[in-house]
């Protein structure tokens, strides 16, 4: 099976030491370190495991600048065979639809049975996977947390409200957006990355992909971020009252309703 996994380089915000920039429309990026989007990493691991079992190859693709090459290399160190960097000044500032359009062009340049994306990335829109499927006119399943390979189709599990799982059959070729927890991604050390340091990663621009430069990028974007702020701290806290057992019951109730526990 030929699998294409779309990945993104995102700021590492685990330690949430995020500050707003002076303009107030983005986060201060100077002090940030970057890594591969966590969801994408699960998608790549899943693709590698599928190929290990059923044959084929994994290609990773990203839309970004030269620095994005590092995440492609990281995923190649995991076991992806090929990497493709989609890079062009014209792509800068693309909205979700623009990114999906660029990826669609890349998908059409190859011959893939399955396209995977992470369920979402740093900005939390979770839009590219769905749009890409629509543009390709492929079937789509989101928030996938299990995949079984069948003949010409896949059986995919999806996480739904309340921690329930539904199973779907989906025909290939298709697009899947992958939820974290579907597997345990392998570790990639410096040594692994060095091993793939000299592998050629082809870069493709708008003309290589046959994209009209005017249809993507900042000018074509129909969604624009106009503000970015930390919400004001809410007032007070809810005090639970009663006996210890009552408090515990109320707390469990609250955690359940907020999705904290199942």
């Amino acid at each position: 099976m030929e699998i294409l996994v779309c990945v993104k380089r995102v700021p590492d915000t685990a330690e949430n030491e995020i500050e707003l920039n002076a303009e107030g429309n983005d986060i201060e990026r100077d002090d940030l370190v970057y890594s591969v989007n966590e969801w994408d990493n699960y998608a790549v691991e899943e693709a590698i495991q599928m190929v290990d079992k059923h044959g084929g190859s994994v290609t990773v693709v990203t839309v970004g600048d030269e620095e994005s090459e590092e995440v492609l290399r990281r995923e190649m160190a995991m076991g992806a065979e090929k990497g493709i960097l989609l890079s062009d000044d014209a792509f800068e500032g693309s909205d979700g639809k623009g990114v999906a359009a660029i990826l669609k062009a890349a998908v059409e340049k190859g011959s893939y049975d399955l396209i995977m994306t992470g369920a979402q990335a740093d900005e939390g829109y979770a839009q590219v996977g769905g749009m890409l499927a629509a543009m390709l006119d492929y079937p789509y399943a989101s928030l996938v947390n299990s995949i079984e390979v069948g003949d010409g189709k896949l059986k995919v599990g999806r996480e739904v409200e309340g921690g329930n799982i539904e199973m779907n059959e989906i025909e290939l070729p298709c697009v899947l957006s992958i939820q974290t927890g579907i597997n345990e991604p392998r570790y990639v050390g410096i040594r692994g990355i060095r091993k793939v340091a000299s592998v050629e990663i082809p870069a493709m621009g708008a003309s290589d992909l046959g994209i009209d430069a005017g249809s993507v990028g900042e000018d074509a974007a129909k969604v624009r971020r106009i503000d970015y702020f930390v919400p004001e701290m809410g007032e007070g806290a809810e005090m639970l009252e009663g006996s210890t057992d009552e408090i515990i019951d109320k707390l469990i109730e609250l955690l359940k309703s907020k999705g904290g526990i199942k």
Partner: protein, 673 residues
């Protein structure tokens, strides 16, 4: 005729053992390269010193002295055994008895034989009837073949000794019956008893007993020798070699591959131990040398807290693997990956590298290097628990396991106590003494107190001290011990460059993990001291002095917990105690497990992030030990110990009854005169 029969037995016995040993050595020649063996004198002394000082350590006196007795008897008897074998070729006459020296040695041999017999009978009773719990084989490791074998082997040896007594005694009886003179036999020795019991025999009957007992004895000796390479008794052959080849540098970790330097290590095909032959020959020799005495697991904190690790079975599983995959007959069995087969992932990640097992092992088997090598293999295959991947990635990107910003590393100096100064050398300043803070004390809110206390001690002693600030990265002591060698090298190289660039003449640290890395893993460092050594030095110089404990503190009972990387790995046991005792009014007690028997707090560095399967935290065990010692203040000298012990006090429900603090904090509070 008899000589021919004896020759056949001797030849068969020798051929058998030579063949078995040759087959046993095969994996050693197929294994990875081992260490170069230098410092011969020190090693020879070690062969004498280690077994005999470790076997009778407290708690193991009975087994230890029984073993020493057996061993000394066997050494005394070694020439005697050769003489006995030889006697069959020359008419069953023990050679050398015409001289006084010969008779003297014969008498000594009689004593040794008697002692050996008693020791073996005692050992058989101890293992077979008294059954000390240390030797029990937990169910998950399969059927207990250990005890039946132990009883059989010591009984066999006792029987061989008994046969020898009969052989010697019958010779005396025959001589006496034929009214010939015989050498002096010391009363109450086994030989003497044998002669008394057989004294009624005629010369010819005694002669027959003499010949028959010779042949049974001869077969017995060679059967016993041939049994050696099949079980724990293999240590009688390989043990001394293992001790001779032991790693001499405490606290250090073996290179990824012996003989491959840092520059070419990245080019290696594979890292660490994945298959059996990835172990180096010394490690396979270790497996052979395990005497199955159980001291390692008896002292292993991971084992005590119910983690799936028992060092004893690391060795025994390794030995059994060697025996089954390199059989005495037929082709060798193909090596499969070890992790997932004889070792489990959790077993290998469970080790805190505290070194308690290695401290105890009478044949100086190395466990940490094997664990690290197995981890290197897992890291290389990407097989790393998710709980460890995040801190490892963060260490690579930001130089600390939390992924916090570099510029926040020196945040703690913003709130120094009044009058305390420490320079941030990242701004280009210089200082005579470099305080290497390391990640834990730099970023952890509670441990920043420890850093500030260290700065207070340095400042009070008049040291011109500075920190690397944002230019410091994690010392990577535990990055290396968790098997991520390349990341370790990157962090080490960065720190080495920064330390060299700072121009500092000496380094002080309050983190024993950093101390160990700087001393054992880094090269060309200026002198490195732990803060306890620094404080003691300044006390002795008179530049540091202490005010008395206050009334409330005087009512407390203090105990000192030895951090593994300060104590066992770096042998700093006394300075922290001397510093504590220098504070007037100090009432300090020792826990039963202290100094080289200290019990790990739960592990530092990346072990803080690992989520082990365990029944009870190591720290909780430790806190209870402090309670048993009657202490209510646990003083330690390591930020990881302090974290684990403070948490354990809460888990054990001893909040308010028990407190923990770092030596630096204790010292900083009592600076004065």
């Amino acid at each position: 005729m008899e000589a021919i029969l004896a020759l056949i037995i001797v030849a068969a016995g020798v051929a058998g053992v030579v063949y078995v040993l040759a087959r046993r050595m095969a994996p050693l020649f197929r294994a990875a390269k081992g260490p170069a063996i230098d410092r011969i004198g020190e090693r020879l002394y070690g062969v004498y010193w280690f077994p005999h000082h470790r076997m009778p350590r407290p708690g193991y006196e009975v087994a230890g002295y029984t073993h020493i007795t057996t061993l000394v008897s066997l050494i005394v008897l070694s020439i005697h055994v050769l003489m006995v074998i030889y006697s069959g070729f020359v008419g069953f006459e023990i050679p050398g008895l015409e001289s006084a020296v010969g008779v003297g040695y014969a008498v000594i041999s009689d004593i040794a034989l008697t002692v050996l017999f008693i020791a073996c009978v005692f050992a058989a009773v101890r293992r077979g009837v008294l059954k000390p719990p240390r030797y029990e084989v937990p169910e998950k490791y399969g059927k207990d073949k250990s005890r039946p074998w132990a009883v059989f082997l010591v009984s066999f040896l006792a029987a061989v000794a008994l046969l020898d007594m009969i052989y010697l005694g019958s010779d005396a009886v025959a001589a006496k019956a034929a009214e010939e003179g015989y050498r002096f036999i010391l009363p109450l020795t086994g030989t003497w008893f044998a002669a008394i019991i057989m004294s009624g025999l005629s010369a010819s009957a005694a002669g027959t007993v003499n010949v028959v007992s010779y042949f049974i004895l001869l077969i017995g000796i060679f059967v016993f020798v041939n049994l050696l390479p099949f079980d724990r008794l293999f240590h009688t052959i390989t043990g001394p070699v293992t001790v001779f080849c032991k790693k001499l540098e405490r606290g250090s970790v073996k290179p990824v591959q012996w003989g491959v330097d840092d520059e070419s290590v990245a080019d290696l095909e594979s890292f660490g131990v994945k298959k059996f032959e990835d172990f180096n020959w010394k490690h396979i020799l270790d497996f052979y040398s395990c005497a199955d005495c159980g001291r390692c697991s008896d002292n292993c904190p991971a084992n005590a807290s119910g983690r799936p690790l028992s060092p004893r079975f690391i060795s025994l599983k390794g030995r059994d693997y060697a025996f089954s995959h390199y059989p005495l007959k037929g082709p060798f069995v193909k090596n499969e990956p070890l992790v997932g087969d004889i070792f489990s992932e959790d077993e290998i990640w469970s080790c805190t590298t505290c070194g308690a097992c290695e401290e105890e092992c009478p044949v100086t088997i190395e466990y940490i290097d094997k664990i690290v090598d197995l981890r290197r293999g897992m890291i290389d295959d990407g097989n790393v628990p998710q709980s460890l991947q995040k801190p490892l990635n963060a260490l690579g990107k930001r130089g600390n396991p939390w992924g916090k910003m570099e510029k926040k590393r020196p945040e703690w100096i913003k709130e120094l106590p009044e009058g305390v100064t420490i320079k941030d050398l990242s701004s280009g300043d210089t200082a005579e003494t470099l305080y290497f803070v390391d990640s834990m004390s730099s970023y952890d809110d509670r441990m920043m107190d420890l850093a500030r206390a260290t700065a207070t001690v340095l400042s009070a002693a008049g040291a011109d001290a500075g920190i690397l600030g944002k230019n410091e990265k994690d010392s990577a002591n535990d990055v290396r011990r968790f098997g991520e060698e390349m990341l370790f090298m990157e962090l080490r190289d960065h720190n080495s460059e920064m330390i060299a660039g700072s121009g500092a003449g000496n380094i002080v640290t309050s983190d024993p993990h950093a101390l160990n890395a700087l001393k054992k893993d880094y090269k060309d460092m200026p002198p490195v001291e732990h803060i306890s050594e620094f404080a003691l030095r300044k006390l002795k110089e008179g530049t540091l002095s202490f005010a008395s404990l206050d009334e409330e503190e005087k009512g407390k009972i203090y105990t000192y917990h030895d951090p593994c990387y300060l104590g066992r790995h770096n042998q700093v046991y006394d300075p922290p105690r001397e510093v504590m005792d220098a504070i007037p009014g100090m009432n300090r007690v020792e826990m039963s497990r202290c100094r080289d028997r200290s019990f790990c707090c739960g592990g530092g560095g990346l072990m803080l992030f690992y989520e082990p399967e365990e029944e009870e935290r190591m720290g909780v065990h430790r806190v209870r030990m402090a309670k048993e010692a009657g202490a209510n203040v646990i003083v330690t000298a390591c930020p990881f110990c302090l974290t684990n012990i403070e948490d354990a006090i809460k888990v054990a429900g001893l909040e308010g009854e028990m407190e923990a603090l770092d030596l630096c904090e204790l010292v900083a509070r009592h600076i004065g005169s």
